[in-house]
């Protein structure tokens, strides 16, 4: 594995970070992806576009989100100061709205009025349904039937917002299956449909574009921590499903070599293939991911020996996915970012710890980052600081956790 000093992370013009990323799609999708790339590139260099996006993120979504000094969690860890980036406080309750808003503005520029999206935990589906309601766009959300069961509240929220939620009954009926179905819809309705993909995944330009819309998290956090402590944090810790909240937090810090970037994958309930969603999980030979292609992009993918994609498990629907965004694969192989995993049990422990000590109920996804953060803080002096991305709030998970504690 090549280890080099990474000071920036930009893909080539076809969306490759090293060997990762790119476009592995049926031919029919190349034209709409080219059209999207063109429009995104234009918007990326258009000050008016960012001005409107910033204004909407401020007035509608409540940005900037606070960077909160979690003093009781800090005292509990007994080391570095722990700061929480409160994405849970943004409108709709997670960071997903940052990307949904950005892409909805793009869709509007492109004159597309039919929006489709996939969702796992339902947070991206809710964010998409929300922006569609605001802009008066038709909204269709694909969601695995198993995820609909786990996240019934979010299904109801999407319907309240006027979206059509389509149950996907293929495969394990989770996020991956929802993406397949959304891609099939797009390939069939390319002319009038905008696919609003929710994570830093999929074919170029999505991994780059979603990252650019989520970078606001890291830009704000960098300013906020400098103003609060006067120096850079020692580490950033964020959960990684597809990897949008983590890449959004990490990216503005990539050039800051003193800042450790730590992604937390879902360790699930066991080490064997099918029981977790830890793509970089190398401690068990049979359990980890290998380089492969899934849903349009080359990255680390959980799969069997013959290239069939593995089923995954996580207590949190939002991390329950077999591949990871290609930029994370690049940051992993270059050694710039580190990836660890937290089990279902550790996520639950983080969930209750954060609730009891800080009065904040985090999403089960974000809860994966809490216990690792406590461990990392405890190894550092009190004069240091670390930032945990609290990517979403946990209201949607309360019922599931209640059921676990009852049975």
């Amino acid at each position: 594995m090549q280890r080099s000093t990474i000071t920036a992370s930009e893909p080539d013009e076809d969306g490759h970070w090293g060997q990762f990323g790119g476009r592995y799609v049926p031919e029919t999708l190349v034209a709409p992806l080219d059209e999207l790339t063109k429009e995104f590139t234009r918007a990326r260099h258009d000050a008016d576009f960012w001005c409107e996006l910033d204004q909407r993120l401020r007035d509608y979504c409540g940005r900037p989100t606070p960077l909160f000094h979690a003093q009781r969690l800090t005292a509990h860890a007994g080391g570095a100061q722990i700061y929480l980036k409160r994405e849970d406080l943004s409108h709709t309750g997670s960071h997903k709205i940052n990307n949904a808003m950005g892409q909805a503005l793009l869709a509007r520029r492109m004159g597309k009025r039919r929006i489709i999206a996939e969702t796992g935990a339902g947070q991206h589906g809710v964010a998409t349904a929300t922006v569609c309601a605001m802009f008066g766009l038709q909204c269709i959300i694909y969601m695995g039937a198993e995820d609909m069961r786990r996240q019934a509240l979010n299904v109801f929220r999407m319907r309240l917002l006027g979206a059509e939620v389509v149950a996907v009954n293929a495969g394990a009926r989770t996020l991956k299956d929802a993406i397949n179905e959304a891609l099939r819809d797009w390939v069939t309705n390319v002319h009038d449909t905008y696919y609003l993909l929710g994570s830093a995944l999929g074919p170029h330009p999505y991994p780059l574009m979603v990252r650019e819309f989520q970078r606001v998290i890291g830009r704000e956090a960098r300013e906020q921590i400098l103003s609060a402590t006067g120096h850079l944090p020692r580490a950033l810790i964020a959960c990684v499903g597809g990897g949008s909240n983590s890449i959004g937090l990490f990216h503005p810090f990539i050039g800051d070599q003193s800042v450790r970037l730590i992604g937390v994958e879902a360790g699930g309930r066991a080490d064997s293939l099918g029981e977790h969603a830890a793509r970089f999980h190398t401690s068990v030979a049979s359990g980890g991911g290998r380089i492969g292609v899934l849903q349009g992009t080359m990255s680390y993918v959980l799969q069997n020996d013959t290239g069939q994609i593995a089923t995954t498990h996580s207590i949190s629907a939002g991390l329950d996915y077999a591949a990871i965004g290609p930029e994370h694969a690049f940051l992993h192989d270059s050694g710039r970012a580190e990836y660890i995993c937290a089990s279902d049990a550790e996520a639950l422990e983080g969930f209750t710890l954060c609730a009891e000590l800080e009065g904040i109920i985090p999403a089960l996804e974000s809860s994966h980052a809490i216990i690792p953060a406590v461990r990392i803080a405890c190894e550092l002096p009190q004069s240091d600081a670390i930032i945990v991305n609290l990517s979403g709030r946990g209201d949607k998970d309360v019922q599931l956790v209640a059921e676990l504690y009852v049975t």
Binding site: Y24, E27, L29, A31, G171, V190, T306, G307
Partner: protein, 263 residues
């Protein structure tokens, strides 16, 4: 000269349109797939496409998705698909196109695939989700082993890309009849004819039309403007319907013949 090119040259000489049925390897089981290859050849197939089952077939409609699921439940792999071709090829000599998503091929290995596919008697490889921009190394390796890399073109493909695709393609060009996933349709659209005309302007390769071609009428319609027609879901649906019938192979053969009937 590739066998696929020979086949199209022969079709042209005899003034016939080509018939390219598709089946999924291992649906309903490998032994039956082997017999189906032989039966379809006997029924008049000019080329046969053999699908490698994949867990996430994003370009396929429900019929072929279910075929993939059936095959995967039997644990069918790319290696099994190659074995199936090798065995059938002892009895038939119709060209076979291996039809796959990219990841199973990637895990198998480029050199190894080219070697073993050639040995098994495969004539061409079509990878649904590998566009020319990402395919260069694969195209070169396949050609070194005298395997034709087949590429798809779609109604959405720009003129500029048609040229690029035509440069990398060998054997024939597969024109997707309309935007969408695989699956039978009641009617063919005009998109296909327009697309074939656009391909003709940039390439001398034969053109086959697929996606939604499911009846004898559709075949005759396609033959009017293209060199061959691919029938996938309609045949796979027959296999699904008959999967427990003892005479499945003969009846699928009969169905294939009915598509070629001239009345």
């Amino acid at each position: 000269m590739s066998r696929i090119r020979d086949t199209f040259a022969e079709l042209k000489r005899s003034g016939r349109g080509g018939f390219i049925p598709f089946i999924t390897a291992g649906d309903p089981d490998l032994a039956t797939s082997e017999l189906l290859l032989i039966e379809l050849a006997a029924a008049g197939a000019d080329i046969i496409e053999l699908g490698v089952p994949f867990s996430d077939p994003v370009a396929d409609g429900e019929v072929i998705q279910r075929a993939s699921e059936r095959a995967l439940r039997n644990g069918v792999t790319l290696q099994d698909a190659l074995t199936c071709v090798a065995r059938a090829k002892q009895q038939i000599d119709v060209p076979v196109v291996l039809f796959s998503y990219f990841n199973p091929l990637l895990q198998f290995g480029r050199e190894r695939l080219a070697n073993e596919a050639k040995q098994a008697g495969v004539d061409a490889v079509l990878v649904t989700d590998l566009i020319p921009e990402e395919a260069q190394a694969w195209t070169e390796t396949l050609q070194q082993h005298e395997l034709d890399p087949i590429f798809l073109v779609a109604p959405t493909t720009s003129g500029e890309r048609l040229v690029r695709i035509a440069q990398q393609a060998r054997g024939f060009i597969y024109a997707v009849s309309r935007a969408g996933v695989t699956g039978a349709r009641d009617e063919m659209t005009h998109d296909a004819e327009t697309l074939v005309r656009r391909v003709r302007m940039v390439s001398d390769l034969p053109v086959a039309v697929g996606f939604g071609v499911s009846t004898a009428e559709h075949l005759r319609e396609v033959w009017r403007f293209a060199d061959a027609a691919v029938v996938g879901s309609a045949i796979v649906r027959e296999i699904e319907r008959l999967k427990t019938a003892p005479d499945l192979v003969q009846r699928v053969g009969k169905f294939a013949k009915s598509l070629l009937a001239t009345t």
